[in-house]
Amino acid sequence: MEEIGIDVHAHHHVDPVVEYKASKLGMWLFLATELLLFGGLFAAYAIFRAKYPEMFHEEHKELDRTIGAINTVVLICSSLTMALGVASIQRGKKKLLSLFLLLTILFGIVFGINKYFEYGHKFEHHIYPSTSIFFALYFMMTGLHMLHVLAGVLVLTALLILSLKGKFSENYYTPIELGGLYWHLVDLIWIYLFPLLYLIS
């Protein structure tokens, strides 16, 4: 009980320890709903891939594996910096937290920039969501994921501002942990999307 993040100053209607545990349970439940949201798309992917194996095989060659691989590395790095951020504030290192949050945000932005060029390239080759079922899946899955990256960057930016204002300490870091959990999920989903879309053999 001594190690968990407790804000002794904020006014709560419940005990801070209970609130901390409640927040974490809430976040895990939320992540479950996010997985189910993508679950619908994964189901559609499985159905259509079984139906049109040749289409998936032929058209996935149009995807840029290099950018995809770079983005995978970028997101893995961002997960690492996020984890380091959480570890820092648990040890009370406030400046390190801000630094790692900033790095995580930058990685997120790099991911977005890559995606921007990747999509642009597709449009130049007249590849749109309406081109085929495969590209519909590609744009829907990566697009929905990109929206989650965007949301994550916004959340992390808010956390960075709070961190710079000195709101977090070794006694209170619940939001950082929750933001971290969310960011790891965004990362995890990409780890599945990348082979499913880019590396079909």
């Binding site: 409640a22 809430g26 619908g40 079922i133």
Partner: protein, 537 residues
Amino acid sequence: MANHTVAETIHVPYLEEKGILSWILSTDHKRIGIMYLVSISTFFVLAGIAALLVRLELLSPGKTIVDAHTYNVLFTFHGSAMVFLFIVPGIAASFGNFLIPLMIGARDVAFPRLNLLSYWLYLLGTVIILFSLLKPADTGWTFYTPYSIQTGTDVILLTFGVFILGFSSILTGLNFIVTVHKLRAPGMTWHRLPLFIWSSYATAILQLLATPVLGITLLLLIAERVFGIGFFDPAKGGDPILFQNFFWFYSHPAVYIMIIPAMGVISEVIPVFARKPIFGYKAIAYSSLAIALISFLVWAHHMFVSGMSEVAATVFSFLTFLVAIPTAIKVFNWLATLYKGSIELRTPMLYALSFIFLFTIGGLTGVFLGTLAADVHLHDTYFVVAHMHYVMIGGTVMGFFAALHFWYPKMFGKMYNEAVAKVAWFLVFVGFNVTFFPQFILGMEGMPRRYADYPPQFHTLHEISTIGSWILGLGILIMALNLLRSLTNGEKAPDNPFNSLSLEWQIPSPPPHENFEKIPHVTDWTYGYGKKNNQEG
């Protein structure tokens, strides 16, 4: 558990503060519950008016008041508003919000601000849906492809509104689950929880697990219209049946999101007015969870005639029968609770008994429809319409009215006129049956649902049904006027007018802002009626 000293200002009744801002910015679960109650009731009335117009058009063959397109728009609005704006948030969001913290001995839900956000999202969703009425959709509430992709009406706004409502629903469910897990008062063990809490908990699980699938389905439908993706379009290699699979994967569990909270209400009302402990507490509690789990395995019973293998159809038919078991367990336990009770027929009890009677009819006719051979004949006929309304009005709405008359004194600190409430109940009960019972016969004779017109041989039954809708409407009008008038003119309610043992009745009516002056220590379950205490009922 916390036992904070609270500031003096929060001992005042929660209704005390006036002004619109004090409401829409309030994180008090009781105020949020009341805001939901007002909102869903408003849409219940609007969607009900649309239903009255639908019935009026069907009074006689040929065009009666509106053309076919307007008719389609009317039943689409009726269906989608009733489902997504009234009955899905329904009892869970209104009474759930108001009651859950009170019943488990907490000061609020786990995340009060998130709770307010859920309500705002609900409002945002409703505003978007109302905007879609500028070019109102005519797809029916099920948005089946390919028609929903082809129609020129505003399907995008309507489904986007429903998508936002889904967010609200998910966040509410999440909040309730965490609240029940983490904020129970000392001594409030799982097996002492009121059954309304068990049902709210099961509902919240369904909201959490099913709603994301609806969300992605609606997003795909929107992408289909906006970007021209072809998941549901056979011309592009897609599959319209896939939409039906996705849609019912949500919408069958959603049926239980609609009905399980009402079952919770019945489990609270029956023991109080029978003055007996609830029979089979654990069976009722766990059957809620069982219903929730099985409901994910039966969606394809809506699609027996859409094209599927015989093996799949047989399996889904059998799985559908399985849901009937935990449902029947509840009904038998309610009946056993009534048996040899000293029954007091107050208004909430009348609605609760109506629930048991009508819901049983609705449930059993559902078994007919789940039966493969019968369904092929009855699919998409008025039999389905009647079945669905026996479950949704006979079940959920009766439960909603029972809740309204049971907790009204606690919520508003006033008593309504009992005699008028009973007259309204009588009209509702009679009107409902006159409206919907003939529809079972219409369906068996082959009258298809959603048609604006019909051949003359169906005239008499349609006429009876329409007259029934007027009686039902009148009953609800009288009920509403009684409850509204009592807000200002009603007698002051005692703290515990029905002698209930549940925690929410042990505090003032209306409750103070902080609910409990001191967090209670719970030593027993809440159903010890007729034993040592409260013998007077």
